[in-house]
Symmetry: C2
Subunit: 232 residues, 2 copies
Amino acid sequence: MIRRIPQQPRDRGIPDATVARLPLYLRALNGLAERAVATVSSEDLAVAAGVNSAKLRKDLSHLGSYGTRGVGYDVQYLIYQISRELGLTQDWAVAIVGVGNLGRALANYGGFVSRGFRVAGLLDADPEVVGDHIAGLVVEHSDELESVIAKRGVSIVVIATPATAAQAVCDRVIASGVTSILNFAPVVLTVPAGVDVRKVDLSIELQILAFHEQRKVNGGPVMGEEWAGEVS
Amino acid sequence: MIRRIPQQPRDRGIPDATVARLPLYLRALNGLAERAVATVSSEDLAVAAGVNSAKLRKDLSHLGSYGTRGVGYDVQYLIYQISRELGLTQDWAVAIVGVGNLGRALANYGGFVSRGFRVAGLLDADPEVVGDHIAGLVVEHSDELESVIAKRGVSIVVIATPATAAQAVCDRVIASGVTSILNFAPVVLTVPAGVDVRKVDLSIELQILAFHEQRKVNGGPVMGEEWAGEVS
DNA sequence: TCGACTTTGTGCATCACTTCACAAAGGCAC
DNA sequence: GTGCCTTTGTGAAGTGATGCACAAAGTCGA
Ligand SMILES: NC(=O)c1ccc[n+]([C@@H]2O[C@H](COP(=O)([O-])OP(=O)(O)OC[C@H]3O[C@@H](n4cnc5c(N)ncnc54)[C@H](O)[C@@H]3O)[C@@H](O)[C@H]2O)c1
Ligand SMILES: NC(=O)c1ccc[n+]([C@@H]2O[C@H](COP(=O)([O-])OP(=O)(O)OC[C@H]3O[C@@H](n4cnc5c(N)ncnc54)[C@H](O)[C@@H]3O)[C@@H](O)[C@H]2O)c1
């Protein structure tokens, strides 16, 4: 008989692909709740979220059996369950490092707060920027990074500095105990195991669009052009 | 003596997952090129791009056979091939609709131009905003959307309006013949077949981070009620 | 109470992507 | 040339996600 060593609390193993869609369902459900809809079928919710209904049902089945056959899902109850699963029933303190064009836009973004994310700190290296009042906060100097993270219980950090500064900021943030990072700088961050980094890269999205656009227009990459560079 | 000329990729079916990584490789290659590196092995390039080397080789093999066994890949040549495949050897006119916090940040973003994307129009519905000078452009009224798209050959549109306006803008844009849209509004856009929509949603990224963060802290959602930790 | 009807939850086949592992290709030293 | 060494390109196996199709579960009207 093989005895399995009881590891961590047995991961309920929600697939990453499912986790990535839960916020989408949540958004659709909130839309329904605003319109005072009490229950919704997987078919309708799937349409609202832009996915296949079988996929939606399988996704939800990973959380538990929260539907009623013949009826559908209770909107409020499902909102609660998904929120709980995503950890949105608690408050997350977020710090934004790099208060330039993008950092300011993020700081002013209302979609943050509405989901349990509280901007608890804005940090920048530029003395010109430090002291600015943005969205009710005062920009602090990035020298204070460690103390801001520690004092305000920051657990998620958004990096919006130039690419050149991103890895250094990342290292300091991790040294301060943060293990969740959202990176907007166009650079691959190197982090130790156990740290989650998600990246948002506008440039990559545009390039993917360009790839498909090119194929629509002329069926593929520009043909017939010879390589003009040196190949040795 | 027959000289083997690298073929044009005849396989029209480059996997989406591969396409999504090509910009990553391109960025890594540009970094190498700046440091005057002439050739690079799949192993080194994979590290720079943050992927597995076998995956990188398979990805590149979809474009053609551009490496040299025993040596690696010529950096400049590979930059050219990937650029061509992504359609970056041509110039793409981009319009940004919705010049608020985010739209301004995008308009000022240098990473646009450096990859063959030219901001050809800024549009907003707010008369207060129309006429502003941003990044060398004048904000035009969104009534001009159709004519701006037609006159300036816009083929990619970035939507940065509030969620409530996004679908309406989307519809008009598509009616004008645009088939590539990058959407920042937190809403599922409904589009006809043949139109590509990519979305960037900060809120979703944060929620995914929160999910994982929650599991690190206490092993799962708060109030772990159904603890059916069945051990076989 | 019962039967018709609706909708969930899921087994299963399939598809897409990843990773391994290695033969073949090519450079290079002599 | 010849043989050694490095690295590519790719079959094949592995892993995970997707979507179909349907039995089971539950509602609701009569
Ligand atoms: N603006 C966009 O639309 C956009 C889009 C995609 C990606 N990005 C990326 O996001 C990042 C920020 O873009 P941006 O347009 O806001 O640039 P920006 O130059 O306007 O702002 C960068 C800010 O970071 C600060 N900074 C520099 N080094 C720092 C450090 N070590 N610690 C703390 N702060 C530091 C600077 O003082 C500046 O205020 C860049 O990496 C950019 O490539 C921007
Ligand atoms: N700011 C962020 O960091 C951020 C992050 C993620 C997502 N978003 C989303 O991006 C969008 C824009 O965010 P923002 O912070 O810039 O909002 P914002 O309110 O600052 O800007 C929106 C702009 O769109 C304009 N607009 C409204 N209706 C329009 C129409 N029909 N046609 C053209 N323009 C119109 C408004 O006049 C305004 O200038 C929102 O949907 C928001 O949810 C923003």
